[in-house]
Every structure is written in structure tokens, then in C-alpha cells.
């Protein structure tokens, strides 16, 4: 008899008596499943309700984004990145634009930087709101979803007013911004902040001290900081495990070093800590936006960038702190108008690797909670 933990759940034809053991149930969760946040397929091996092991099958949303990049110019590829993490499209755009800017050795003017920070942080709030709503929904609380969607709408309205799109915004251009902030942009943002601050308390009121919520999240999906680092897990998941690593502070990009904000960390690395970390992150984002919107300087919004971009031969890796973790772009230029290779390091894809480790010996219901707490977006996992 082989050790059941070593058999791949995928290998259903294994002529092994452990598989025929009536105690074990192989269950296929997804790709069409309400709680896998898209088209993630998880093959679970269960002993009753206990998870013996699981395997993620991905690729159902693969669109070959990285390959597409090789056939597009640098500018043309910009809107494609929005389609990866579609709930945080602005962050994706920021990462790509900054990477190409680094390659071209240009820098966006200060005014553009400020507006970029405001929009990115708004997007971080929107992404966390969507995470909170769906995560709570997975755990069975249906009401927070509607609250967060109601408030997320206000952010999307600002995006829509700014660039015409709500989700896949294509807000930034390489070298700065295409659009000047519309009249009343600052007022809208300020209004949103004063509207949103009490709303965070409202979310917390529903969940933070809710007995059932505590029971469902405390001690569930625990991962240590060491394991996080070993697996390359980043973002709120890493911070909730007690590792103070935020690229906004560690390797400041855009003009984050001008702003005063804190990095929340957790202690236990469980689902509850991740929830708390993200809630505090929303408050910190509000803080950043408050500072940024006070100090938007006057000036141009676009740096001098050639119409036909031909970056010098070379390669660059640039990463930003997306709402879900470290979002990195590795771009190789061969000196032509099209990148030779674009490799994206998506936070969701890397974080998803921790799922098996976090779910072992937990119950089926916890798998759902852990998928929710990892905050994955399948568009980004599969690209």
C-alpha cells in the first residue's frame, strides 16, 4: 500500500487499493462552481469531510496574453494587461507602464504620478471590496456582498468619469496619462473618501466580531511566514503571516515614498488575520488618497515619449504591490517596436500554489474559505 499522500488525485487510473478504499472520495470542484471565483478546478480527495489533498487544475481562462505581447507594439499591448486581473485593472496598467518607462528610461511627470497613485489606491479599495463581498458570500454571509458592491460602484463611477471605462480602464499611458483629470475629480475623490470611511465600519460591524465569522476564519488556512516566502506568496497573505513586506515601502515605485502610511501585519497567518489585514489596508489606502489628493501638483501629465517606441536592447523586471500581491513584469526588448518577450508574475498564480498546503487536513468548507481568502482572479492565474 502506497502512502495516499503521494498519489496524485489526477491519476484516477492508479490500480491501487487505497483509491478503492471506501473512506476516500475524490470530488471535482469546478470549473463550474459558485465558489471558485471563476473557472478554477480543484480536485479534492476527501475522507468524509476532511481534505486529504487537493490539486488545482488551471488554464480554463488561458488567452495567451504573454504571447500576444510579442506580436503587439508596446503601446498596443497596454490594454491587454487590464484583462488579466480585471478587478484591479488600474494596478496592472501601472505595473506595465512603469516597466516600459523604466526600459525607455523616462519618468512620468509628478502630476501624472499623483493621479496614478490616487487611481491605483482607489482600485485597491475596489479590489478589496470585491474580495470582501465574495469571501463573505463563500462563508455564507450574503449581505456584505451587496454593501460592498454598492460602495464599489462609487469608485467605478470615478473611473468612468475619468477614462470612460469602469472595469478594464486602460487609465494610464506609457510616459504618463492620456487624459487630464476631469473638472471636479478632486472633489469627487474627496466626497468618496468621506462617504467610504463610515462604510468600512459598517462592513466590520457585520463581520469582525460576528461569532460565526470568527469560528469560520480563526485558525483556518494557516500558513507560516516561512512557508509563504518559500512558495513566493506575497501581498496581504504574506503580511497576515507576520512578514512586513510591501513593495510600496520596500522598493518604492511611483511616488509612494512621499506618502505616510502603515503596513498592517497579522500574527497567526490565518483567514481572520488576512481579513483584518485587508480591512486595515483599505483604511490605509484612504489615508494615501487623502494625502495625494491634497497635493496634486500642476504641470504636464505626459513625459516626452517617442511616438514609435523602440526601447534599447535589454531586459527589465519591475514589480508593484497590486491589491493581491507582487505584480511583476519582465520585459525583454530586442530593440524593435515589439517586445521580444513579456513575462508576467501574477500574484494570484503564485498565491494559488499555497492552496494545497493551507487546506490539508481541513474540512471541505475551509477549502472554500481559503480560496476566498487567497483572493485569486482566474484571469490573472491563467493569463
Amino acid at each position: 500500500m502506497t502512502d495516499p499522500k503521494t498519489i496524485s488525485p489526477l491519476d484516477l487510473d492508479t490500480p491501487d487499493e487505497t483509491y478503492l478504499d471506501a473512506n476516500e472520495l475524490v470530488i471535482n470542484m469546478g470549473p463550474q462552481h459558485p465558489a471558485t471565483h471563476g473557472v478554477l478546478r480543484v480536485i479534492l480527495r476527501l475522507d468524509g469531510e476532511k481534505v486529504l489533498g487537493l490539486e488545482c487544475v488551471i488554464g480554463y481562462l488561458h488567452r495567451g496574453v504573454e504571447k500576444i505581447a510579442e506580436n503587439r507594439t508596446y503601446t498596443m499591448f497596454n490594454p491587454y494587461v487590464d484583462r488579466m486581473d480585471y478587478v484591479a485593472a488600474v494596478s496592472n496598467g501601472l505595473g506595465y507602464c512603469e516597466a516600459v518607462e523604466k526600459l525607455l528610461s523616462v519618468e512620468a511627470p509628478p502630476r501624472a504620478q499623483y493621479i496614478r497613485v490616487i487611481l491605483t489606491e482607489l482600485n485597491r479599495i475596489a479590489s478589496h471590496q470585491l474580495w470582501l463581498g465574495t469571501h463573505a458570500l463563500d462563508i455564507g454571509a450574503i449581505t456584505p456582498l451587496f454593501y460592498t458592491f454598492r460602495d464599489r460602484e462609487e469608485i467605478l463611477k470615478i473611473f468612468e468619469k475619468y477614462c470612460g471605462a469602469r472595469l478594464t480602464t486602460h487609465a494610464f499611458r506609457i510616459g504618463g496619462l492620456q487624459y487630464e483629470a476631469y473638472d471636479g475629480f478632486e472633489k469627487d475623490v474627496k466626497n468618496f473618501l468621506s462617504f467610504f470611511k463610515p462604510k468600512i465600519d459598517e462592513y466590520e460591524e457585520l463581520l469582525t466580531t460576528n461569532r460565526i465569522w470568527l469560528e469560520r476564519t480563526k485558525g483556518v488556512g494557516v500558513i507560516s511566514g516561512k512557508d509563504c516566502i518559500a512558495l513566493g506568496v506575497t501581498g496581504p497573505v504574506l503580511r497576515a503571516s507576520g512578514v512586513k513586506w510591501d513593495i510600496r515601502k520596500a522598493l518604492p515605485y511611483a511616488n509612494y515614498k512621499n506618502f505616510d502610511f502603515e503596513i498592517p501585519t497579522g500574527e497567526n497567518g490565518d483567514t481572520y488575520d488576512r481579513y483584518i489585514v485587508r480591512m486595515i489596508e483599505m483604511r490605509q489606502s484612504v489615508r494615501i488618497i487623502e494625502q495625494a489628493v491634497q497635493g496634486i501638483p500642476e504641470g504636464p501629465i505626459m513625459a516626452k515619449v517617442p511616438k514609435v517606441m523602440k526601447p534599447p536592447v535589454g531586459e527589465i523586471y519591475h514589480s508593484i504591490e497590486a491589491p493581491k500581491g507582487e505584480l511583476g513584469y519582465f520585459i525583454v526588448s530586442d530593440g524593435s517596436t515589439q517586445p521580444y518577450r513579456v513575462r508576467v508574475r501574477p500574484p494570484s498564480f503564485v498565491n494559488l500554489q499555497a492552496l494545497d498546503l493551507m487546506c490539508r487536513d481541513q474540512l471541505v468548507a475551509d477549502v472554500i474559505a481559503v480560496i476566498g481568502t487567497l483572493d485569486i482572479v482566474l484571469g490573472e492565474v491563467d493569463r
Binding site: L25, E49, L137, I139, G140, I142, Y147, I212, E215, R216
Partner: protein, 429 residues
């Protein structure tokens, strides 16, 4: 012919339920009335749940079919009836076919003994409450067979969860019920069934008898032996939510984990049977709670606000409630958009309001208002529980399976035992 009319008339004026009086005609009429009333209640509950939940969640709920979506449940029912009837390939066809009927049968049969008034029950059994608990727990059979016959993993897990859950919560539920039954025989003088002053000294299991005991003792059991009755009531109130598989104990059909649990593979009419059963089971357990602890058909404050004047005031409640609902409809009619497209909807709402107001007026008529009080108060109390169900669903996350078992076995069961022992002791001293 005369014999038939005599037979029908012979029951009128009886102070027994038609079943107990042995009158087949009226028993059949009552069965039909209960069945129709229950179906209407389920339809209304469907609409109300969607509307109330929607308003808790900053949305509007159904608004298109009929004014304020009033016809939505009917449209849904039609849709379900017209849907293709799918039986999965690997399913055990006979069992698959039978399962929903078992569930529905169990859910409807319990209403045989539900007392809507001193004579308004299909029958009065001397073991009424036992019958109710016994029959309602039969539904677990239907759920297990449904899950097993589907030949699919999610339904199987859902069914297993469901059976474990229902069986373990029935224990706590039973203990709470027993402590309420003990109260029927206790009058504070001391002994069980051994003489005493005035009140019934032998306890009763009859649903009607339990309410009458509360009437005689001038106390709803929820307040009796404070706080014992209250604790027992709370145990029951928690266990009944688990028993009916509703949030926050809706694990068997935890949609985010098991898509739809035991009825994942069901569709169309069969699915609607499960739906019907779930809601009628909710109404059934709420009726048990109302009967045992909240005085059944008795109006509120039966001992504090006594006298003919108060009786008169309370007898106006049913009519006034319907008039209020009618007024609400008229108020919303005035708020409807004035666009010609909304004309039919506006008229429909006004018509519905007029119907409700008419019912309200009829219920105010002397001779009617004295007779509907029982049914009204019973239904109002049950409706309160239904609102609680919706409220729970809007606010609570879902328990995990092991936590659910912990709550059932480690919290509710010991508490229930304690309450039972204390109740018995309290009665003696």
C-alpha cells in the same frame, strides 16, 4: 339527502375538532383548507423572503412581474412546472422519483395536528406533539434517498450532512419539547398528576391541550419558571433552524460549497417539491414553537389585559392589519410612476389593495371578528418566526460542519438536559 345535510350540520357548534368529532365531511374540508392555506403561505413566503432580504441588502428584489413583483412566485411556479424533467443517467430512477414525495409528505402531514384555534385543527391527537416530531423527522429519509439516488458526489455529501445534522438537533429539540410538556402538568403546587388545586394535573401531549394548559395557567410557557421556559424556547428556536436546514445552519445545501446539496440534480417540478417542503417544514416547526411556548392561538397579554373592552380591542386586530396592508398598497399606488406603461401595474396594485381592504372590512364585522382571532394570532406568531428566518439569512455566515455538531452536542444538548432536570425539580418544590 337529508341524512347528508344532517351529517354536515351535526358538527356545527361542536367544541371538538372535526377529526376528533369523527365528522368526515368537515375533516376533508379542513384538510383542503389547510392544504390551500399552506400553499398560499408558501407562495407569500417566497415573495416576502425575496423582498425583505432584498431590502436588507440594499436592492429592490422582484419588481417586474406584477406590481412590486407580486406575481413573481406564480410566474416562477409556472416556469418550474413547464421545465424539462431531468433524471440523471446514473440515478436510481425509482428512488429518485420517490424522494421528493417523501419529503413533501412528511412536511404536509404534520399539519394534521397543528391547532389554529381551539377547534380549528384537522384533528386532535392525544399524542399530537410526538406525532409532529416523529413525522417531521421522516423528511430526513427523503433527503438521504434524494442524495443517494442522484448518484453524484455533491448531493451525497449534502445528504450525509443533512441527516447527521437533523438527527443530532432532534435530540436537543426533543429535550426542549419535553420540558415544555412537563410544564403542562405543573401548577406550582408540587406533584405530577397527583391531585392539586383546580388546574390540570396530568400533563398532556395533545397540541390543543398544551395551549389550553397555558390558558388555564394564565401563562405562556416561555415565561413559566423564568428563565427555564425562555431557555428551553431558545434551544428549540436554534434547533428548529438547524432542523429545517436554513441559514446559518444551511450546510446541506451550502451553495458555495456543494452547489445545492442534496437537490443538486433535481430540476423543475421535483425541485419545486423540495422547495415546497422546505418552506412548509419551516412553518411546521414554527407552529410547534408557537404552540408550546407562545400560547398558540391565544392573544397577547391574556392575563394582564382582561375584560370585555380588551377582548373587543384585540378582536379588531385582524381587520385592522388587513386594512393597514391595503392602505400600504394604496400608498404605493400613489407612488407608482405616472407613465402609461405602468398603468396595468398601478391598477393591479390598487386592485390588490382593494382586495386586502375588503378582507379587512369583512374581518371587522361583528360575528366574524370574534371567530378569526384564533387563526389570526396563531398566524401572526408564526409569521414572526418566518421573519426571523429571513433575518438570520440576511445576517449570519454559515457554520462549518464540525462547529455545527459542537453547537448541537456540546451546547444545546447539555443545556437542554439541565433545563429539563431543573424544570422537573422546580415543579416539585
Amino acid at each position: 339527502m337529508h341524512a347528508i345535510i344532517d351529517y354536515i350540520q351535526s358538527y356545527l357548534g361542536s367544541d371538538q375538532t372535526p377529526g376528533a368529532a369523527g365528522n368526515w365531511f368537515w375533516a376533508t374540508v379542513y384538510v383542503l383548507l389547510v392544504f390551500v392555506g399552506l400553499s398560499v403561505a408558501v407562495i407569500a413566503m417566497n415573495w416576502l423572503e425575496r423582498k425583505i432580504l432584498a431590502h436588507m441588502q440594499v436592492r429592490l428584489g422582484p419588481m417586474r412581474v406584477g406590481p412590486h413583483g407580486l406575481l413573481q412566485p406564480i410566474a416562477d411556479a409556472l416556469k418550474l412546472l413547464l421545465k424539462e424533467d431531468i433524471i440523471p443517467d446514473g440515478a436510481d430512477k425509482v428512488v429518485f422519483w420517490v424522494a421528493p414525495f417523501i419529503v413533501v409528505l412528511a412536511a404536509f402531514t404534520v399539519f394534521v395536528v397543528v391547532p389554529f384555534g381551539p377547534t380549528h385543527a384537522i384533528t386532535d391527537m392525544n399524542i399530537g406533539i410526538l406525532f409532529m416530531l416523529g413525522v417531521s423527522s421522516l423528511s430526513v429519509l427523503g433527503i438521504v434517498t434524494a442524495g443517494w439516488a442522484s448518484n453524484s458526489h455533491y448531493p451525497l455529501i449534502g445528504a450525509l450532512r443533512s441527516s447527521a445534522q437533523m438527527v443530532s438537533y432532534e435530540v436537543a429539540m426533543g429535550l426542549a419539547v419535553v420540558s415544555a410538556i412537563l410544564m403542562t402538568s405543573l401548577h406550582g403546587m408540587g406533584f405530577y398528576g397527583v391531585g392539586g388545586l383546580g388546574t390540570a394535573d396530568t400533563g398532556t401531549l395533545s397540541m390543543i391541550g398544551i395551549v389550553q394548559a397555558q390558558q388555564e395557567q394564565q401563562m405562556w410557557f416561555v415565561f413559566k419558571f423564568f428563565p427555564l421556559g425562555l431557555v428551553a424556547f431558545f434551544i428549540f428556536a436554534v434547533a428548529m433552524v438547524a432542523e429545517t436546514n436554513r441559514a446559518p445552519f444551511d450546510l446541506p445545501e451550502a451553495e458555495s460549497e456543494l452547489t445545492a446539496g442534496f437537490h443538486t440534480e433535481y430540476s423543475g417540478f421535483r425541485w419545486s417539491l423540495f422547495f415546497l417542503a422546505e418552506y412548509s417544514a419551516m412553518i411546521a416547526v414554527s407552529s410547534i414553537a408557537v404552540t408550546l411556548w407562545l400560547g398558540g392561538w391565544l392573544r397577547p397579554f391574556p392575563n394582564a389585559l382582561q375584560g370585555a373592552t380588551w377582548d373587543f380591542i384585540f378582536s379588531l386586530f385582524p381587520g385592522v392589519t388587513f386594512l393597514f396592508l391595503g392602505a400600504l398598497c394604496f400608498f404605493n399606488t400613489a407612488r407608482m410612476p405616472k407613465h402609461p406603461l405602468f398603468r396595468i401595474q398601478t391598477l393591479g396594485l390598487a386592485g390588490f389593495g382593494a382586495l386586502l381592504a375588503l378582507i379587512g372590512l369583512v374581518l371587522l364585522v361583528h360575528g366574524v371578528r370574534e371567530r378569526v382571532g384564533d387563526i389570526f394570532w396563531f398566524s401572526a406568531k408564526v409569521a414572526g418566526f418566518m421573519y426571523l428566518y429571513i433575518w438570520y439569512r440576511g445576517t449570519f455566515p454559515r457554520y462549518r460542519f464540525d462547529q455545527l455538531m459542537t453547537v448541537g452536542w456540546k451546547v444545546l444538548l447539555p443545556t437542554g438536559l439541565g433545563v429539563l432536570v431543573l424544570t422537573a425539580v422546580w415543579g416539585v418544590f
